[in-house]
Structures are given as structure tokens and as C-alpha cells.
Symmetry: C2
Subunit: 320 residues, 2 copies
């Protein structure tokens, strides 16, 4: 039965799809805490099967000389919790990867940015086997199997229910959260996953988008009165988008995000890093889907639309 | 008396403020046709006083070994027609330059981009001594006193009246247009200068703006479906801006501009050239003033506003 304990007592097993800056960090923490973790790797497979993972972290460096590494999901055992830590630009691979990998009573936990990713996964594994998580993490992969955790790391996790209905707090959420907390990862449980995703977009849409289009760090965007206003206007459009989905982001949330960014160290966003590295951008999930959700409900978000159009142009040229 | 012949029979004298790609080309054509032309120069003053001007043109190359060159307006004689061919970013100099330079019965002809430039000049010389011209010219300054005319050259000229009231066709317009036509420059007379300016912005706002923000030529912007849509949406916002000023741009004008651009050779806009050369951008006249005009009349142009904000950011960083 859905949304119950996955297993009553025995330990959960974890699959990590995408052992990069994010999946590699969280997976390594889980294994270090004693859990059974299986890592899917692509370019680093050979290296990591031989040498394991190295994590440099502000919370303390550690090494895992041996990890269960795989180059294909077909070779991995079915797991209780399948963590999707791929870039969303790889999500076309999920229909092949997920069905045999997640146990009957298991769950897929999507640790990706943007909106609508759980909808896609629900189509593959059923809407009662999906959860979403929003990661507030600064980390980089600095070499094969070598992760540098710079700051933060908290995950805000929520249950998915069909059409993003509010699903509340479930026991299996708590069970997984306990595992993460035991691994030293701060967790927050969200009663309403869609609200949590819209809230994260309040930050992600303006800063990720404008950092790419204007080749700018957060401090540069905040230091110019025109782009600072534009950031705020984009944030209000996100609030309006959430509203169109019947989700109310509190009025002071925008001001809080602006102040939070003012206090941050100068920051190059993840989308800007992808762009600079000539990797495909997560435009569809972070911009395209929020626009689709809102437009289907009659909301017009002109500045986010324009940012989306600009990013589609730049992304297309960057990959050619 | 205003808007009459400036002189009944004798030849008009011309001052050219700004002897660059535009002022240099038109001024040289006028002098070649036998008119009395006085050129204000800045960095090229020494060179041009000694060597004159060279014009390479698709209509035929020519040289003017001797021109009346000046480094300060105070040394220039009062003229019948004072042509402002400076970049609008230099317009803070006009209050010093114009008052003694334009004859009592003379007129200032503003050959600049954007909106609101005639308002500024009217404050200096009175609203009955101002005209505006929209130049459809491809030319570059390739060296000191050396102008390369690539294509086009037509000027659409209109009388200014206080608050951009429609001023119709006047005799002095026709007289000046005759001089230009005799110099081989195709002229169009506009009955409504404000309408003509808004029409030119239909092209200038999307292409100049996006070419800078996205580092793109016209063909690149047209070749991507997302930016092509954005170009068109920006054009419709310009049409809405014109509407707020009670000026109706015909429905098919947008489609005509898109088709016209499709047929153009790949083109780097003038604002992009300024940006690449690290010169200040004409953001205020081309974006800021159309927004001010529209907002004062209750129109909201969100995408042009966003383009303005992005350009202000880039312009500020480019000059620092």
C-alpha cells in the first residue's frame, strides 16, 4: 500500500542515478552512515569501481575506498529508494531505467530542479511511488569520483500525488528523512510538494536565467538597480504562477529571497556553470514547465516567457 | 516666421554636428552637390582639416580634399540647417552647441535614433525650429575622415511641433529635402513625425536590443523560432506603445518588418557595433523614452521594459 512504511524494520537500500556533484555527495553520505547504496555512473564508472569516492566537505573530508558502482541500471538490484540525481536534460532515459529498479513497495525520490519532473516519473512507476526533493546544496565534481561540498546541503522533501494534490506528511517520508538525518543531511518535510517547488523557483528563475543571459554572478545582478528590479519583478511573476496553481507564496517571501541573496557570497548559478561548460541547460523543467502550468490556468508571465525564449536561443547555440 | 521658407532664393548653409559614419556621409554628399557645409569634428579634427574627407560608396567613391572643419561650435558660423548627427549619448552637449549656431530663421534637423530627441532640442531653440529625420543608412567610419557607405541612405523627415502634434508637410521641409535629393539622397516627407519615429522603433527595439543581449546578428535572431517569436512580440509592444500616443501603426507593418529582415543580409546592428566597440549605448532614447511616453499614458510594455533593464546592466558594465 502506498505512502506507508516501505519496510517495517530492515534497512532501506538506495540507488543513486547520477553520481555527480549532487548524487555523489548525498550517496556517499548515506553509505558512510552504514546504508546499502548502489551508484550508477557514466564517464567515471571505470575509475570509481576501482578507487571509490572522495568527498571533501566543510563538515569533514572522507573517503569511500569501495562503492557498489554500476554502468547500467540493468545490472543494479531493485532498491527501496531510487534517487534521481541526473540533470533533467537526461530524463528521456528514465522510462528505461526506473521500472525494474524500484521495488514494488519502493519509491523514486526525484532530486531535480524545476517543475513537472514528478509527473513524468509518475507516468513510469505510478503516482503512489514518487517523491520530490528540493536540494539547497553547493557542491562541485572536481574530478572522477571526487566531490567537493562547499556549503549547505539541506533537502526539502515532499510526497507526490496525482496532479500535484497536496499529500501531507507520510511515514515513508519520515523513514527516508531519518536515514538522511543520520547521514548528517538536514531535512525538511513539506506537506505540499508543488508549493515547495514554486517557492524554490522564486530564486531559481531570476538568478539562473539572468546569470546566463547577462553573463553575471548574483552579486552583479543585485548591485545594479535595473537588474535588481528585474529580479524582483521575475520573482513576483513566479508568485503569480504559483497562484494560478492555487498555491500561495507568502508576501514577504520575495523580500526574504532578495535579502538572502544580498548576504550570499558572489555566486555563479548552476545553470551558468552548465552554460560555461557547454552542457545542455535545464530550460524546459525550470522555465518551460512553470510557463506551461501557468498558461494552462490562464496566467500570463511575460518576463519569464522572454527569459525562456532568450535561454532557448542561447542553449541551442551553445550546443551547436 | 516658423515653418516657412528659410530663405526664398539663396542657398542654404549646413552645419554637421558629428562627422562620423552618418553625419560625415550626408555632409559630404551635400558639399559635393555644391552646398556650403560646415563640419564639427572631435577626434578626427586635425586629420580632416588637413586631408578632407574620403567617401567610399556603392553609388560611387569620391574625395573632398578640402572641407570646412571645426573643433568647436563657437568657431562655426550661424547656419540655416544644423544637422545633429551625434550619438544621443552626447546630447548633454547640445544646450551649449545649438543656441548660437542655428540662425534666427533656421532649423535644427535631428538625425538621431529613438524618441524624444526633438523635445530636448525644442527646449533649447524653441519648438518652431526643430525637425526630425529617420535615417535608413548602412555606413561605417573606417578611419579618420574615411567613410564607407554600404547600402541604403534614405531619410524620412518630419516637422516637429510642441508635444509631437502632427505638423504636416511644410515648405521648409520641401526646401531641405530638395537639397538632399540634389545630393543624391532619397527623401521621404512624413506628415506625422511621432508616427514615423514609432514605426522605426518597430525594427530598432527588438533587433538592436536583442543583438546586444544575445550577442547575435539579425539572421541568428530570425533563424531560431523562440527569438523570432520574441522579436515579433516586442514589435507588437511597440505598436501598443504607439497606440498609447494615439498613433496607429498598420497591422501589416509588423509582418512587413519581419519579411524585410528575413531578406536582409546578416546584419550586426548599430547598437551591437557600439557595444562591441565599448561605446556607450543609446539605451535611453531608444528604450527609456518610448517606455516613459507609454507609461505616462498608462500602457504597460513588459518585454521592452525587461530589454531596457538588461541593456542598462550591460551598458553599465561595458563602460566600467
Amino acid at each position: 500500500m502506498a505512502n506507508q512504511f516501505i519496510y517495517n524494520s530492515s534497512q532501506l537500500s538506495y540507488a543513486i542515478l547520477g553520481t555527480g556533484a549532487l548524487g555523489g555527495y548525498y550517496g556517499a553520505c548515506l553509505q558512510k552512515s552504514g546504508l546499502d547504496v548502489h551508484f550508477l555512473l557514466h564517464s567515471d564508472y571505470e575509475y570509481v569501481s576501482k578507487h571509490g569516492l572522495v568527498v571533501e566537505s566543510k563538515n569533514g573530508d572522507f573517503t569511500l575506498p569501495q562503492v557498489q558502482a554500476y554502468s547500467e541500471t540493468s545490472k543494479m538490484p531493485p532498491c527501496d529508494v531510487v534517487i534521481v540525481a541526473l540533470k533533467t536534460t537526461q530524463n528521456h532515459l528514465l522510462p528505461q531505467m526506473l521500472p525494474n529498479l524500484v521495488k514494488e513497495n519502493g519509491v523514486v525520490l526525484v532530486l531535480q530542479n524545476g517543475l513537472g519532473v514528478e509527473d513524468e516519473v509518475a507516468k513510469i512507476v505510478g503516482s503512489n511511488r514518487v517523491m520530490g526533493g528540493l536540494c539547497f546544496l553547493c557542491s562541485n565534481k572536481v574530478g572522477a569520483g571526487h566531490i567537493r561540498h562547499l556549503d549547505y546541503g539541506e533537502i526539502k522533501m515532499g510526497e507526490y500525488a496525482a496532479n500535484y494534490q497536496t499529500a501531507g506528511i507520510t511515514k515513508r517520508m519520515q523513514q527516508i528523512a531519518n536515514d538522511f538525518e543520520s547521514a548528517g543531511i538536514k531535512m525538511q518535510l513539506a506537506e505540499d510538494l508543488l508549493l515547495a517547488r514554486w517557492q524554490k523557483l522564486v530564486w531559481n528563475i531570476p538568478y539562473n536565467g539572468l546569470s546566463v543571459v547577462l553573463d553575471a554572478r548574483t552579486d552583479e545582478l543585485m548591485g545594479n538597480s535595473h537588474t535588481r528590479s528585474l529580479v524582483e519583478e521575475l520573482m513576483w511573476e513566479v508568485v503569480a504562477g504559483a497562484k494560478s496553481c492555487d498555491r500561495t507564496i507568502p508576501q514577504n517571501f520575495v523580500e526574504t529571497m532578495l535579502q538572502y541573496t544580498d548576504k550570499m557570497k558572489p555566486y555563479r548559478t548552476s545553470m551558468k556553470i552548465d552554460y560555461d561548460e557547454k552542457r545542455p541547460l535545464e530550460v524546459e523543467k525550470m522555465f518551460g514547465n512553470p510557463l506551461k502550468f501557468s498558461q494552462a490556468r490562464g496566467a500570463n508571465l511575460p518576463k519569464i516567457t522572454m527569459l525562456y525564449q532568450q535561454l532557448k536561443f542561447l542553449d541551442s547555440r551553445n550546443s551547436s
